[in-house]
Symmetry: D2
Subunit: 316 residues, 4 copies
């Protein structure tokens, strides 16, 4: 059975823990900064207990919450790109980088999963200049390449295998991997960007990626950048049921038998109860009606953020 508590977002893992336990996750440091229309939360999972509790590898997770990203005036998107580039550099510039590979994960034929490939189309690549026209290389210029490897269902090849093959040949010293994520919350869709230095965990997002893209599998650091573009339909069904039970509990006299019964429904019982309920939704996704336009806008924001971070000399 699908783990209905799973989420790609570190801040959601933390919220789940805090709302269950009433306290901060042990082994985790959190710091928050509020800019105009953007809230930045930096979560550092610094010990194995934190990692286990959060269900995520140790490392840094930076989340930008940007409710207005869905509206998208060109000026506002440009502002988001600048802020994003600063946070990206916070993670990237701790490594000595000369040769960066941008990887756009996801399926270009499925609109909400096409974020990565669309970013790849707009990232400014320079690696071929180093190779074929070295006289045009300018001081401070990074070698940047980009690839959209596709998904297992289209290629028949694990994404990690394609990336390893390319990494073995072109020897980058850093990967930036872009991915569309699934969120627990409809409010986060198209309004949250998460970047982390821990790579892409297996099973993430919409697709079916099994082997992780991270330092342990690729031998170089992997910065992951993700934006929730869908809510999983099964997750949504589960959340609906949680909300209903909460409502029923509130509406029921505390000493009644019904109240007690609802309270006694523990998570496992509830799950087995609704297992059958959610099964028809397994291959479905929940997205905003305007997702096609949103994906284009967000790909533009992310690509510009990466371009500024990697080619700062072009934007001065």
């Amino acid at each position: 059975m699908v783990d209905l508590r799973r989420t790609d977002l570190a801040i959601e893992s933390r919220e789940l823990y805090k709302s269950d336990s009433g306290r901060e996750v042990p082994g985790v440091e959190v710091d928050q900064e509020k800019l105009e229309n953007i809230t930045i939360t930096r979560v550092n999972i610094f010990d194995p207990q934190g990692s286990m509790t959060m269900g995520k590898p140790m490392g840094n997770y930076i989340t930008l919450e940007i409710p207005d990203m869905r509206m998208g005036t060109p000026e506002f998107n440009h502002y988001v790109s600048r802020i994003l580039s600063i946070e990206l550099n916070r993670l990237m510039r701790r490594f000595p980088i000369h040769n960066v590979l941008v990887v756009g994960l996801g399926n270009w034929n499925v609109t909400p999963d096409a974020l990565g490939p669309k970013v790849v189309s707009r990232v400014v690549v320079t690696r071929h200049v180093f190779e074929f026209a070295p006289e045009e290389v300018k001081p401070g210029m990074l070698s940047v390449s980009a690839i959209a490897p596709g998904v297992l269902g289209i290629t028949g090849i694990e994404t990690a295998d394609i990336i390893k093959g390319v990494v073995d040949r072109i020897k980058p010293d850093l990967i930036v991997a872009i991915d569309a994520l699934a969120s627990r919350s409809t409010a986060r869709v198209a309004s949250t960007i998460q970047i982390s230095d821990t790579g892409v965990s297996p099973g993430a997002g919409i697709g079916n990626r099994r082997t992780a893209l991270d330092y342990s599998t690729l031998g170089i650091p992997v910065i992951a950048l993700g934006i929730p573009t869908v809510v999983d339909a099964a997750t949504m069904a589960n959340d609906t049921i949680d909300l209903l039970i909460d409502s029923l509990i509130k509406a029921t006299p505390q000493n009644s038998q019904f109240y007690q019964l609802l309270k006694d429904l523990n998570r496992d019982e509830k799950y087995s109860l609704i297992k059958e309920v959610i099964s028809p939704y397994d291959n479905l996704m929940v997205t905003p009606k305007e997702i096609d336009e949103m994906i284009d806008d967000m790909a533009g924001i992310v690509a510009e953020g990466i371009n500024i971070a990697l080619h700062s000399n072009m934007y001065q």
Copy 2:
């Protein structure tokens, strides 16, 4: 509040009634034919009581249930087009038609709503031959034109106003209107085609169309052809809750207080209870992950079905 019992499909209205009441809807005749991999159900709402009970105008509704339409080998799609053309002609050929306008409703920027515009792109039009090259008109040829009027949110104009304007100028004697529908059931998405001779009812489908396209507003018969491409997220939330309550009822001793409480939850109470639950899903839709490809395939099937029905001489 949204009417959570509303459905675009006559066979769903009938099922809801039958499962509530245990009997056939009065004022409605139903006939079923089973072909290889296609079940055809023909519902005739023949009196006002039937119309009221079904929440649909009097007239004929033909539904093709085609579970394999999602898989779509070219041969199978072609077979579906042929069957569809026969059922279309069953409704169309009772009118003396010379001049047919195909209307592709929906928003070409929203994948699951783009069915109608995509069909328009593939329908064979001939009206301009009559107008500009009458010497090329062959015996038995119908004058066919086609338009994709867009949606209110993009045009600022009611769809009915655009269609009326065009009808006033080009004077067709029949309209065939294609539309993406919302279904109550995830199983119906991309596997059911409904055609009817009652026009397109207001508020249908994904978009926001207020004035009906039918004989009363346009002065000519309107054949509607619809395929469910989404499940409304609010409907899905409601159905999940219904399923949960049913499960709880089954799992509860019949003489317990809890059982009685669940049984006593009438529809209105339940709705007001979950009203708040579903509000975040108002602007969301639930679709299959492969919806982009499915829409292309279905547009091909429908366009070919219409082409065969209208230009039978081309296909002999």
Copy 3:
């Protein structure tokens, strides 16, 4: 035979005349303004002789030459939108306007012809607010609607018929019609915007539009906005031959028989000579390799220019 001297651009007609005759076109006033990276040429055809010479209706033609539009940083595009909005208002604001209909001409299935439909998708429409939520209308707000009528080959209906039908129902007092144009010159493609107050002339652009959209056919003023997105392949073949003959003339001793022969090739002889040469290119178009991206960028620039011009209160 196609008129190989035809061009959609007034400044090209003028250049052809000036290079043939060595003087300014009689009946035509020209004024030029140079901004940073944009040259604005305002041509006023003020008498019938000017109209005949130019092969264009009397009226105002404003051309923005923007070589850098092809490169398109977001900032530069935004600057172009602002300048465009000022020139649009120069033509539009001489009419008392309350209710504007934006018409996106062209075929959304043919990339270089999809400019108009793409602009329609991005124009901010407000007419439905006036109709359905008048309490939200703010002072100074214009009623704006938009339609992409398609092309004759897809609809079977003349574009002018669709527009007339819609105009009869919604009674706008001004039309702004967007169209992809054909240019004589490859240098103009995706780098020139022409706006005029004379409507859209028949036979313009890539498609096949026969009846004009202008004051005489629609009863309201029509502002036309066009951008060259293709060079006609036949035109290109002709220009190649002109260039070759010029080269041959230069390379030939002035008193030779060959020189005389080349000089004596008058336009008609040359045309009948090359008529056969160009016939295979009749259904071809010549476009930049990056046309898909360029069309998206230009649709964004034009839509924003129109939005600023029509909804100036939104942008202050």
Copy 4:
């Protein structure tokens, strides 16, 4: 300067030679078969002299000329797929194959170059079944994978480097590489399919691919499948000039000085003469106006042809 005699199609090389020399190319064997609406020409370049004369590697080139492929009824396309699968098997089945990698060359953002990536989306892949669900492998099933590596301008990485990286990891024993080609002739666009067992030569097609994909670089046989989707604008300018000179020669008295001058224009002089003429067309391409639809249709035909050839057991 671009080699204006270059062509991707072996039958065009042969035609050029035959029309220049009046005889068959030495070192080349040609065999032709005429089916209903399809002419199949099989060219075998069997010695180094043939290879030099043709400007192509030694090996087999099979060309299907299909004038009706542009019209594309579903039935006809299906017939073409069947014929294509037979010719593909003629080249492929001489190798003992177990594990095939399909490579879709080209840029998915440039419509006429998107053929390869679109085919990849529709090829049935099975390699992951062997890897993750070996119990579902059926007798006779081939392991098929597919990748669309992108183009140098988007990735910054040579296509051959990406393919080599992937080949090193997944060890296929045959590659089938799909590519959009440039043709000398407008008549061939979207109506000719060439398959060969010699791999993809450098510099082919629309993109800029430098290192060959063939046995010598990859260590496994490479079947190349190409369809012309554009005419290079510079080639077209050159052909126009050739046609003009021919016309001038015909129209000129044989003993005149002009006639002699035209006759004396040898290829080199002519090229340097027109070098300047064609320079503005360097970044342009010439395509049919309906190219978007054509690419979709052809991707369907090719993918189905490959699927039948590789998964013959699925189609019995």
